[in-house]
């Protein structure tokens, strides 16, 4: 009887039922679309952060460089000819240097300290290095100024000599980047985002071996294949594998074992980045805070703080989905619920005689209320089904028509070293000629140095089971709310009053 009565009643006022259902469907469809879009933006953000940060890494620890730091600065121009202060014209220059990038050095013991911090699952040190090679010939310089030229060095310290003649064009600088990888914690660190394209990756036996993995883009442009020999800081390495970094990432050109990197860069027992995984993804902020206390003077970055540095359309989309979209969906949903409630109450008002009769026949108020609520919930479920359909359509439309999202992560300009971001080789070798001596402005800046690292992501709007379930719950809730109002009105009816009102 319940379902027969329910179905017949819904059929009788089909137009109103459809109207209510469509109202609920619009609200629910909007909620699903916004949820899906927000989820898509979140996925895009996660993808961006993984590209910029590293899969499995929750926190990175870096240190801002201090003045004069950055490892040995001399290019080692052999000063065997000419004056003691300046090589003679015609001197062949062929020098190579492997040194830290714009990150300050951190003692390897800090890795152990971080690893033993509460709620830290694992910690791995890394070394980001730049190999700079300069070849050329010292040109003849017509010096009219003061005497002597100097080779200066120091991070950020090079300045050009005044009045001197620039001979920058006589030298050919080449640079590439090298990351020292902690092989014992291979799942953490710079290799975590990359996939092996060919060859093999490091094994525990490679800790001190002169073996290297090469980034696929760099390998392609330099025609490097597995098994080739390459030279890093005048040391021969065997390429054992080619790895591909995710789109948008700015990977190093080479990966070598950390111990070997430390030796070559004369940075034994030093790293310039620590990759950390927390035991519990919910406690990242607490862990980050504990690490800051455990290793003072470092910059501890977690994904939240990294996310806050991400700018671009992905940030706008996140803001749009989280603010405007969410509130719009809530507003439409509330409007739909109100509409459903008002129309249900109106329908109950029109059926006062009917309910009065049923009560006169001995129907309990509860049964009458269930009947009213049942009708409302049925409308809610129909609205929910239509709403889920609309939600899928909306999500598909978002995926199809939404423009690609861009994310930019600026770094390196404030002294805060951002992991995996721009790598700088700022203020390189100053070759300051004194008093009219020859000089050139150093600074072999890597392309990405001190610039924004930009990633483009296509927005997808995945509709999750949870979102569909939430929609069903919302639909039933909408029906319950509407039915509660209607049922409350029906329950309050006294049979005599109900019958006399229309008799």
């Amino acid at each position: 009887m319940f379902f027969t009565y329910l179905w017949r009643e819904l059929r009788r006022r089909a137009r109103q039922a459809i109207f209510i259902a469509i109202g609920l469907a619009l609200g629910i469809g909007l909620v699903i679309t916004v949820t899906a879009a927000a989820s898509g933006v979140k996925n895009a953000q996660a993808s961006v952060l993984h590209s910029l940060y590293g899969v499995g890494t929750d926190i990175t620890v870096t240190k801002a460089p201090t003045a004069g730091s950055g490892g040995p600065q001399s290019f080692g121009f052999g000063l065997n000819t000419g004056t003691a202060s300046r090589p003679a014209a015609g001197t062949k220059i062929d020098t190579e240097s492997l040194r830290g990038t714009g990150l300050g050095t951190i003692s390897s013991t800090s890795v152990t300290t971080v690893a033993s911090t509460k709620d830290v699952a694992a910690a791995a040190g890394g070394l980001e290095l730049t190999d700079t090679k300069i070849t050329g010939t010292i040109p003849a310089i017509n010096s009219s100024g003061g005497s002597g030229g100097g080779f200066g060095g120091g991070e950020g310290g090079g300045s050009s000599g005044s009045g001197g003649q620039s001979f920058r064009s006589s030298f050919t600088p080449t640079t590439f980047t090298v990351d020292g990888v902690d092989i014992t914690n291979g799942e953490l660190g710079p290799l975590s985002t990359s996939k092996l394209s060919s060859g093999a990756t490091f094994t525990s036996a490679d800790t001190t071996a002169h073996v290297a993995l090469v980034d696929s883009d760099y390998a392609t442009s330099n025609k490097i294949k597995v098994g080739n020999k390459v030279t890093i800081d005048k040391t021969s390495f065997t390429v054992i594998g080619i790895v591909t970094a995710p789109s948008g990432d700015t990977p190093p050109d080479y990966y070598i074992p950390l111990t070997v990197a430390q030796t070559l860069a004369s940075m034994k027992n030093d790293v310039n980045e620590i990759y950390v995984t927390a035991t519990n993804g919910q406690d990242i902020t607490t862990v980050a805070s504990a690490i800051t206390k455990a290793v003072p003077g470092t910059t501890v970055t977690d994904q939240d703080s990294l996310a806050s540095q991400v700018t671009g359309s992905i940030s706008s989309a996140a803001s749009l989905a989280n603010n405007l979209g969410k509130w719009l969906a809530i507003a439409v949903l509330i409007a739909a619920f109100l509409l459903a409630s008002l129309l249900t109450m109106s329908a109950v008002s029109r059926r006062i005689r009917e309910f009065g009769t049923l009560k006169a026949l001995g129907w309990k108020s509860r049964r009458v209320v269930f009947q009213v609520m049942g009708e409302s919930i049925a409308i809610g479920i129909v609205g929910g089904v239509i709403g889920v359909g609309l939600g899928f359509l909306g999500a598909a439309a978002v995926g199809k028509f939404a423009p690609p999202l861009t994310a930019s992560l600026t770094s390196g300009t404030t002294g805060t070293a951002t992991p995996g971001g721009a790598r700088s080789f700022g203020g390189g070798g100053g070759f300051g000629g004194g008093g009219g001596g020859g000089g050139f402005t150093g600074g072999f800046n890597q392309a990405a140095s001190n610039a924004a690292s930009t990633v483009t992501e296509h927005l997808t709007a995945p509709v999750t089971i949870a979102a569909v379930l939430a929609a069903v719950v919302l639909a039933v809730l909408g029906g319950l709310i509407a039915g509660s109002f209607g049922g409350w009105r029906a329950a309050r009816l006294r049979p005599a009053a109900a019958l006399s009102k229309v008799a």
Binding site: R11, L358, G362, L499
Partner: protein, 226 residues
């Protein structure tokens, strides 16, 4: 069956109070048919609603088989309506979306009768009012007389002790009226019901065993019909 003692019913209307019943005393025996007449607005329907447990007296007592309806809770009152009292209304009050048979079944729903038994009993009730061939019809597909027959079947399907009818022929033409009254009379006799019928129609009232008149909230039993 019924014993009413000094029953009063007051309604608040605007700022004033309407004294719908002003001390009604009445006894109705088992199996008795009583008709109540009177001008509109003088308390006939109010008295019927109090007899049927659809409304509560402001004061006095309403005994139905020793049970004082004025003291019953809502649940117990609902149960009394479901089991003991059958109603027939002037406007039939059928559920418009349900068929004749389903309308009859609605009276069995509160009794927890199984669906199968409901169908059988409602079919039987419809047969007793001569509407077996209209069981699947909606109220809108039936004439006024047929609708009232369905309402009678609905009132009697649960085999109540009392049948309360409020102007059962008020919306019917003369021929149909006679047909319905004849049917009610037959069912009253066959089933041994107590029947209280409010009516404006003197011809109908005269067929009852007793005739009461309501005027200004007071009931006067004028004559005994033999």
């Amino acid at each position: 069956m019924y014993k009413l003692t000094d029953v009063k019913k007051d309604y608040a209307k605007g700022r004033g109070t309407v004294h719908a019943l002003q001390g009604v005393d009445l006894e109705i025996a088992d199996g008795e048919w009583m008709a109540i007449q009177g001008p509109t607005g003088h308390g006939k329907s109010t008295l019927l609603q109090i007899l049927g447990g659809l409304d509560r007296a402001t004061s006095g007592s309403v005994l139905l088989d020793e049970t004082d309806l004025t003291r019953l809770g809502e649940g117990s009152m609902t149960k009394v309506r479901a089991t003991t009292i059958g109603f027939i209304f002037q406007t039939f009050n059928l559920i418009p979306t349900l068929s004749a048979q389903e309308n009859v079944e609605t009276a069995l729903v509160p009794l927890g009768v199984s669906a199968q038994s409901r169908k059988a009993r409602s079919a039987e009730a419809l047969a007793s009012v001569g509407l077996s061939d209209r069981a699947r019809h909606l109220p809108t597909e039936l004439s006024g007389g047929q609708q009232q027959r369905v309402a009678i079947a609905r009132a009697l399907v649960k085999e109540p002790k009392v049948l309360l009818a409020d102007e059962p022929t008020g919306n019917l033409d003369e021929d149909t009226r006679d047909e319905i009254i004849a049917l009610l009379e037959k069912l009253w006799q066959d089933k041994g019901l107590s029947m209280v019928m409010v009516t404006h129609d003197t011809a109908v009232a005269r067929r009852a065993q007793r005739l009461g008149t309501m005027r200004n909230g007071k009931l006067t039993v004028k004559q005994k019909v033999v």
